[in-house]
């Protein structure tokens, strides 16, 4: 009995010993081997990147230098604002899905070495093409697709940071019946697949920056024989504030750790967080004042002229322009209604009946604004402006002036009567 137990214990010990030894040996081998390989690899492929300063201002030129292992060259440099993010949405016209993310970098740019030869793998055969050609081809196309460009130019090697910033990408399936009740559609689960997030993030970046040359810039990256490289990059005047990352990219697997810098935006420049641009605050203020004054003089609000100018001058997304200018007329409208109501000059039945239907229209308009592209927005706005111009032209014709003179006289007469009645009422009271 005793012997049997001793034997069992011995066997268990032996077993344990074997396992421990085996595992230790396995472990000892794995990290050793793996470590050696990765160390050798990291030594081999270490990419350094340095910036000449830590803090820049909009308009400054950044000097990017660094070193790559010999035989390699830096082909792409990715620059991302990682703290300043904006909300971007787009409607996919193919499957009517509406994508929205609040974490799209307000500034994003990929510098591409102008002498880079892109390699495209077409069913096993690698085709080579100068990136300049590809770039110019896509630049000439009005309806370019960022996914295709990233692939063809190999710039997807450098499309690294934005998908990491996007923690949540919401998706809606839009349907006509849902849109009629003013909804974006049926909300689907947020994207979780990394590839899908990457693809949709790229598309949202295109939806926001639109032009090829505002996302991708062909530039000279001078790669020397000893492996050092140098490039310069001009931070735009309207660059958003706070931290940025810079990553130098050789190919799909070889890239640097992100180097960081800070963009300083100081008074009188201000950062408009939803619009995602920094600008001298006097610009929009003077513009609004001048245009609105002219707007009142011509008998229409300022929005007609202000909105296109904000888009054409400051490149603010059309959704933000409409969303920010619209509420600014509430005060003057409110004041006007108050003044007219004081002298009993509002027909409430007429105002409220038409007003209810206008409120209904105001419920759909902002939703449609999210669904249209900038080009469509410009088209609608252009047509509206033409109608407005025609209306005003009609108002300068002699017939209209004659008629309006009479009407104005009646209007003044009624205003006097209203004021008198109001005064009489007050006296009685």
């Amino acid at each position: 009995m005793y012997g049997k137990v001793k034997f069992t214990v011995l066997i268990i010990f032996l077993f344990l010993f074997l396992i421990t030894f085996g595992i230790t040996k396995l472990f000892a081998q794995l990290p050793e081997g793996g470590g050696q390989v990765s160390e050798a690899k990291s030594e081999q492929i270490k990419v350094e990147v340095k910036l000449d300063k830590e803090v820049y201002k909009g308009g400054d030129t950044i000097r990017i230098t660094g070193k790559v292992p010999s035989g390699m060259r830096v082909n792409f440099i990715e620059i991302t604002s990682i703290d300043s993010k904006v909300q971007v949405s787009r409607l996919d016209r193919k499957d009517y899905k509406f994508y929205l993310s609040k974490e799209i970098p307000a500034f994003y740019q990929v510098l591409i070495a102008d002498d880079y030869i892109a390699k495209i793998d077409k069913n096993g055969t690698v085709e080579e093409k100068p990136v300049k050609e590809i770039y110019n081809k896509y630049k000439a196309e009005k309806k370019w697709r960022i996914g295709e460009f990233l692939k063809e130019s190999n710039a997807d090697y450098a499309f690294i940071t934005p998908p990491k910033l996007v923690a949540e990408m919401r998706v809606w399936k839009t349907t006509v019946s849902r849109a009629v009740i003013g909804s974006r559609g049926e909300e689907l689960p947020s994207l979780t697949d990394k590839k899908e997030i990457k693809r949709e993030t790229a598309r949202l970046i295109q939806a926001r920056m639109r032009k090829l040359d505002s996302i991708f810039v062909l530039t000279k990256i001078s790669n020397k024989e000893d492996g050092t490289f140098e490039a310069t990059f001009r931070l735009p005047e309207n660059a958003p504030p706070r931290s940025y990352t810079v990553i130098a990219v050789v190919n799909r697997d070889v890239k640097s750790e992100p180097a960081k810098f800070v963009c300083d935006v100081s008074f009188p420049k201000l950062y408009f967080p939803v619009a995602g641009t920094s600008t001298n605050f006097l610009g929009p203020l003077i513009l609004a004042l001048a245009i609105c004054t002219f707007g009142v003089l011509m008998g229409a609000g300022g929005g007609f002229i202000l909105n296109p100018l904000l888009i054409l001058i400051y490149h603010i997304p059309h959704g933000v322009v409409a969303g920010s200018v619209m509420p600014s007329v509430l005060f003057s409208q409110g004041a006007g209604i108050y003044n007219y109501s004081k002298i009993g000059f509002i027909n409430w039945k007429l105002g409220i009946t038409v007003g209810i239907f206008m409120a209904l229209g105001g419920f759909f308009g902002p939703l449609l604004n999210q669904f249209v592209t900038l080009e469509e927005y410009k088209f609608v706005f252009g047509i509206v402006l033409l109608i407005l111009a025609a209306l005003m032209l009609w108002q300068t014709t002699p017939g209209y002036i004659e008629k309006s003179k009479k009407e104005k006289a009646i209007l003044e007469e009624f205003k006097k009567r209203a004021a008198a009645a109001k005064a009489a009422k007050e006296q009685k009271g």
Binding site: I286, L297, I316, G319, Q333, L350, G355, G361, K408
Partner: protein, 134 residues
Amino acid sequence: MKMKLEFWGQEFYANMVIGAIGGFIIAVASSLGGFGGGPFVVPLMTVIMGLPIYVVVGSSLLAIFFNTLMASSRYYFFGQTDVLLFIFMAIGAVSAGFIAPRIAKRLSPLWVKRVAVIGCTYLALKLLNVPYIP
């Protein structure tokens, strides 16, 4: 469907179906674009609905206010309102309300309108991407 409206002892009949449909369309366009609908609602009520201007001036403002209020809150909840930009635009709009009447006395309204026609046409052509527009 005609609706009876009373205004200072006078009675008017206005076609409310046209008013409702017209108001709705103007409101969709104006809230999509982000401008007030005043210059369109006034002709809708005077020319198309046949109401005199003195009934329309105040009432059209009330109707537009509904649209502005609704659209502004929608934009705000969609996260499309840049509050800082809104503040500057509001300062501009409110001060314009004080400045414009003072300038208006010295200007011929006819000429202001003519300049506005040219300005709006130019902007429209630019927005419509018409070639050869600088």
